[in-house]
């Protein structure tokens, strides 16, 4: 795979640093962040994607935490 820069990561509207190797999938990313997939939605380059969606080539990843209540 062509070497691409790490994607920009935004968690709940705040930029975060992606530590180590870029995660392969949405699920891997959430595991690294210690967030249950049940408690988050992830936008990859603007679109909400399923848990197993691959992150290779993604430029921007936004994690939205699902808060309790409401």
């Amino acid at each position: 795979m062509k070497k691409a820069g790490k994607p920009v990561l935004v968690v709940d509207g705040r930029p975060e640093k992606l530590e180590g190797r870029a995660p392969a999938s949405v699920r891997g990313l959430l595991a690294g962040l210690k967030v249950s997939p049940q408690e988050a939605l992830v936008r990859v380059d603007g679109h909400v994607r399923p848990d197993d969606f691959p992150l290779a080539g993604a430029r921007k990843i936004e994690v939205i935490r699902v808060v309790f209540g409401g």
Binding site: S36, Q38, L41, V48, V67
Partner: protein
């Protein structure tokens, strides 16, 4: 870059999926369609809303209640009903104000009248002020710990339910619609087991026709309890839970896809609730064993009628605790209550110098 291979495309139309995998993968369009269908099925199956009824939505401005409001507004196009919204402002600094903004905006969009009632005006103190008066030893029974009966969530819940019921009654509502989702239901089932509260569990149902403190659950498929024209409003406004089959994450997904602009901030007191621990446990189970929440829901549906029958027949109550009496009125405030004095009056006495109102 690879667009979407077949495992990430909608099982219905092959467009890019926003959720699920394989046969369960759905694009935005099909996810939204199926969401609406599930809500309609639930409303129909439990006879939640009769034609022409006045439905008050308990609106907090959070994802669940905003999604519920929009779903009912959509349903209204097929099933004539009168929609209104009630918001309870508990008085939680920094938390409630932004959600009130969302609630006002969404009601304006849909042309739904919003009624706001507050702890301060109805019971004399904001939740923040009441909780400051808590005895010191009550503090710090935090996450994972045993929730004290005088915890923030118990107190808030009792008064929120009281205020919602009173406002719904004053506004002539036939039903009070709550945004409880599948996760809430599965958590409630487990919480009642953890706390040895089978009678409460027996009375918890997608439609409650009497207060959680002592009303029988409505049997599945029972017809809507529509009020006859001219009849006086009942003390207890039946509560309906049209989102009860929908996982919390999917409610959040719909809110995100529809751009409802929900505030993603949790209540500062939420960590005090035992429910949070159960929520985390259930989410871990769901990750390891997908479908766990649905299976708990289905078990609850299957056990409900039998549990209710057992609860009615057993003199002492199935857990050996003293049985609650049929719904009557609180001797202090006159609100519906299964006990001599309602939970709100009991709590009021502990927190305020002046009991009653």
């Amino acid at each position: 870059m690879k667009k979407t291979d077949s495992s990430f495309s909608c099982a219905r139309c092959k467009d890019a999926a926003c959720m699920g995998s394989g046969e369960r993968a759905r694009c935005e369009k099909h996810f939204k369609e199926e969401f609406g269908r599930e809500v309609r099925r639930t409303v129909r199956e439990f006879g939640m809303i009769g034609a022409g009824e006045r439905v008050a939505v308990a609106l907090s401005g959070g994802k669940d209640s905003v999604v519920l409001l929009h779903q009912l507004a959509e349903l209204k196009k097929k099933l004539p009903m009168e929609l209104l919204a009630i918001l309870v402002d508990e008085g939680i600094a920094g938390y409630r104000a932004p959600t009130i903004k969302v609630a006002k905006r969404e009601c304006r969009k849909l042309g739904v009248k919003l009624h706001i009632v507050s702890f301060k005006s109805e019971i004399g103190s904001s939740l923040d002020a009441v909780l400051k008066k808590r005895p010191a030893r009550r503090h710090g029974r935090g996450a994972g710990g045993h929730a004290s009966p005088l915890g923030a969530c118990s107190f808030c819940g009792v008064f929120r339910r009281l205020l919602l019921n009173k406002a719904a009654r004053r506004l002539g509502a036939d039903k009070l619609a709550l945004g409880h989702n599948l996760d809430d239901a599965a958590q409630t089932v487990l919480l009642n087991l953890y706390r040895n509260e089978p009678a409460r569990l027996a009375r918890f149902w997608p439609v409650s026709v009497e207060s959680g403190e002592g009303g029988p659950a409505r049997a599945p498929g029972a017809a809507s309890a529509a009020r006859k024209p001219g009849a006086s409003p009942p003390d207890f406004i039946p509560r309906i839970r049209p989102l009860i089959r929908i996982p919390e994450r999917e409610v959040a997904l719909l809110a995100e896809l529809e751009g409802y602009g929900i505030c993603h901030r949790s209540c500062p007191y939420a960590h005090e609730a035992m429910r949070q621990t159960v929520r985390a446990q259930l989410n871990e189970m769901e990750d390891r064993y997908p479908g766990t929440k649905k299976r708990i829901f289905n078990s609850w549906m299957a056990m409900g009628p039998a549990m209710k029958k057992m609860d009615e027949e057993t003199e002492a109550g199935p857990n050996g605790k003293k049985k609650q009496t049929p719904m009557g009125r609180c001797s202090s405030c006159g609100e519906p209550s299964s006990k001599e004095e309602c939970a709100a009056c009991r709590m009021r006495r502990q927190f305020y110098k002046h009991p009653g109102r």
